[in-house]
């Protein structure tokens, strides 16, 4: 729709040679589309509120109106701004998409969070102000889950250490590197739900799972992997590590392969021991990659839920609960939509602050170390 009408110069984004009529038409197109969208939305919300009898069965026509509005906005941009509009077309679809599927739900979520709404009760939703928030403050299960998240996030450092070791191994001069890389990457490809069954429910099965058998051979009389709080937590961490170590390893391996060889060879010539050359050369040079890997990993770790939901459902006594699995049970088992959403929004704010601090702190620290 846009490539065919190219008589304008391409080197500038200026719109000096666009006829005034075309610009006005473009402006009118956008205005009309906006009015149509607003009319659809208004009509439907009046209908939903019971003010009029005329309306649609559901909100889907409004969605179509939004899509049409998006197209009109794009066409209008090109008509008004020419080349600049065509450039905007690259980024416009993604922005409209993300805004629609993030902003609306977030606003809706904020509203839900302040309602007393249980799908299982007959009363429907009702606004209850800050009651959910105060309930949250006094909810020992939530704070317990949040405390567990601290352990799970700290476990990322252990994963990082193991992954670094594996990356060093793969980076050494070895045969069949491709085979080992594929084998090491394999756990990352598997669905956490399947892993939950494969490892958590069968391999670690108390009576005849191979892991339990092995533990008995090694002298552990009673290898119950999910019975006592700390052992259960470690079991979940081990499964999580099994899935995610390949990811960190691949990032670190790429970093290792991009290291300047001259420096490493110079260290070799100077007679530095492998241990020394690792701590004084490789590790500092790998810091940027390491920090990227750890931050990405922490971001994903904060969403940890699938394995916990499928293997322990948070037990024993909430020892393995994550915030996400806690909220999942709140939705799924108790249908407690209002409260669950409040927990989710609160957790999201905590995460946002935590990640922001992490990014800020790590960039400051990097500057101090490298510069």
């Amino acid at each position: 729709m846009q490539t065919s009408t190219t008589a304008a110069p391409h080197d500038t984004g200026a719109a000096y040679d666009i006829p005034e009529g075309r610009r006005a038409a473009g402006r009118w197109l956008i205005i009309l589309a906006t009015i149509t969208l607003a009319a659809f939305a208004l009509l439907q919300s009046l209908y939903a509120a019971g003010q009029t009898t005329y309306g649609f069965a559901n909100w889907r026509p409004v969605l179509y109106a939004y899509l049409a509005w998006g197209v009109a906005l794009g066409v209008g941009q090109v008509m008004i701004r020419g080349e600049g509009g065509k450039r905007a077309l690259f980024v416009l679809p993604a922005i409209l998409f993300t805004v629609a599927v993030v902003i609306f739900p977030t606003v809706a979520g904020l509203y839900i969070a302040f309602t007393d709404w249980n799908l299982a009760s007959f009363e429907g939703r009702s606004f209850n102000g800050l009651a959910n928030f105060w309930a949250l403050m006094n909810d020992a299960y939530f704070w317990n889950a949040l405390g567990n998240m601290v352990y799970y996030v700290l476990a990322v450092l252990v994963q990082y250490a193991i992954a670094f070791g594996l990356a060093m191994l793969l980076n050494a001069e070895i045969r069949a590197r491709k085979f080992f890389r594929v084998a090491f990457l394999m756990p990352f490809m598997l669905s956490p739900v399947a892993v939950g069954w494969m490892v958590g429910k069968s391999l670690m099965e108390y009576r005849f799972g191979p892991a339990a058998t092995l533990a008995r051979l090694l002298g552990w009389e009673n290898p119950a992997f999910f019975a006592s709080p700390w052992i259960a937590r470690f079991s979940i961490m081990a499964m999580d590590a099994w899935v995610w170590i390949p990811f960190v390893m691949i990032l670190l391996l790429a970093g290792l392969q991009a290291l300047p060889k001259e420096i490493l060879e110079a260290a070799k010539v100077d007679g530095a021991s492998p241990w020394r050359s690792f701590w004084q050369i490789i590790f500092p040079l790998m810091l940027p990659v390491s920090i990227t890997a750890i931050i990405i990993r922490v971001i994903f770790q904060l969403k940890l839920a699938d394995i916990v939901i499928t293997v322990t459902s948070g037990g024993p006594g909430g020892a393995t609960d994550t915030v996400s699995s806690f909220i999942f049970r709140e939705y799924r088992d108790r249908s407690n939509v209002g409260y669950g959403t409040m927990v989710a929004e609160f957790y999201f704010i905590l995460i946002a602050i935590f990640i922001a601090l992490l990014l800020w702190g790590s960039s400051r620290w990097m500057k101090r170390v490298t510069g």
Binding site: A94, M198, A344
Partner: protein, 319 residues
């Protein structure tokens, strides 16, 4: 960026890394070197065992009968004789494959749902994400007070959004839009989930393409979009494939949204696996067969397209 391409091509072509070769004349250092090699290979094999044993265990368990499971038999044909029992129970064994089987139909439906949604969402995300990434790399935008940096941050910040935050609002929204339990509904959610990753990968990819190529195309009379479609797109195809495959992997494995937003029509494979663990966790052979069938497509992807996954994962990480 130059470094990162080097790293990737290095990984792809198995380039020799920096060798720590001791002088071969010294006998003592030679034996030390051998000890080092032994240690390296021991560790490599140990981790290979850790990484692959659960998969091996699952695949072999799908061919076991109850007594083989309880007695801890491990090696087929030696410890135990393989049996089709697990596969029969989901209707995929040789003797049941041509009969009608409700379990198999259920499984195939879920399988197809997973395939449709992960591929659909990945395609949509790659199209939207590539366009946005290209625009953000090449042009300077100014939407009100928003500039390129802000737009990029807006996209990438979606990555920290935990699924729990969006799950309930989506449930409510989809109910109003009549999109609950539909393919398109889950495709939209999954697209949102992988879009930041795609933009991240494609930004890195486009930065590696010299601007001169497009400038030459513009001089030859191509439009901006023409230059993008004819010149840039073919060059950046490997990056798109990498982003696409990584997205498929993430969507295929997604459980949270699928569990909350679907009921009977658009259920995915992970939901089916999870529901089985709840009700009949002891039915080992059929669970093993189901898990094997659920992970098989991605295991195959992992073996044959590992290069692209590595490329996708490492994009932008190594500067």
């Amino acid at each position: 960026m130059a470094m990162s391409t080097k790293a990737q091509t290095g990984m792809a072509t198995r380039s020799k890394p920096y060798a720590y070769r001791e002088p071969p004349s010294e006998f003592a250092s030679n034996s030390k070197r051998i000890a080092g090699r032994v240690a390296i290979y021991t560790l490599l094999l140990l981790w290979t065992f850790i990484a692959l044993f659960p998969i091996y265990w699952t695949v072999t368990t799908s061919f076991k009968v109850a007594v083989d499971v309880t007695q801890g038999h491990l090696i087929p044909f030696v410890d135990f004789w393989p049996d089709w029992r697990g596969w029969r129970s989901i209707g995929l064994s040789p003797d049941t494959i041509f009969n009608t089987s409700t379990v198999r139909e259920e499984f195939m439906k879920r399988f197809l749902n997973s395939a449709i949604m992960s591929i659909g969402a990945s395609l949509l995300a790659v199209i939207l994400g590539s366009l946005a990434a290209y625009g953000l790399v090449r042009f300077d935008y100014k939407f009100a007070i928003w500039r390129n940096r802000d737009i990029s941050f807006f996209f990438l910040s979606q990555l920290i959004l935990p699924p729990v935050v969006l799950a309930m609002p989506f449930l409510v929204l989809y109910k109003e839009l009549a999109l609950l339990d539909t393919h398109i509904g889950l495709i939209v959610v999954y697209t949102l989930m992988v879009l930041p990753i795609v933009i991240w990968i494609m930004r890195d990819q486009f930065r590696g393409i010299p601007v001169e190529l497009e400038q030459a195309a513009l001089v030859d009379g191509c439009s901006t979009w023409g230059a993008f479609l004819r010149i840039v797109l073919p060059i950046s195809l490997p990056g798109m494939v990498a982003a696409f495959i990584l997205s498929v992997v993430l969507c295929w494995n997604e459980y949270f949204f699928a569990a909350l937003l679907t009921a009977t029509n658009a259920n995915t494979l992970p939901v089916m696996v999870a529901s089985q663990t709840g009700s009949q966790g002891i039915n080992w052979w059929s669970m093993a067969a189901l898990s094997t069938a659920a992970i098989a497509p991605l295991a195959i992807v992992g073996i044959f397209l590992e290069r692209y996954i590595v490329k996708g994962l490492t994009a932008g990480a190594v500067k």
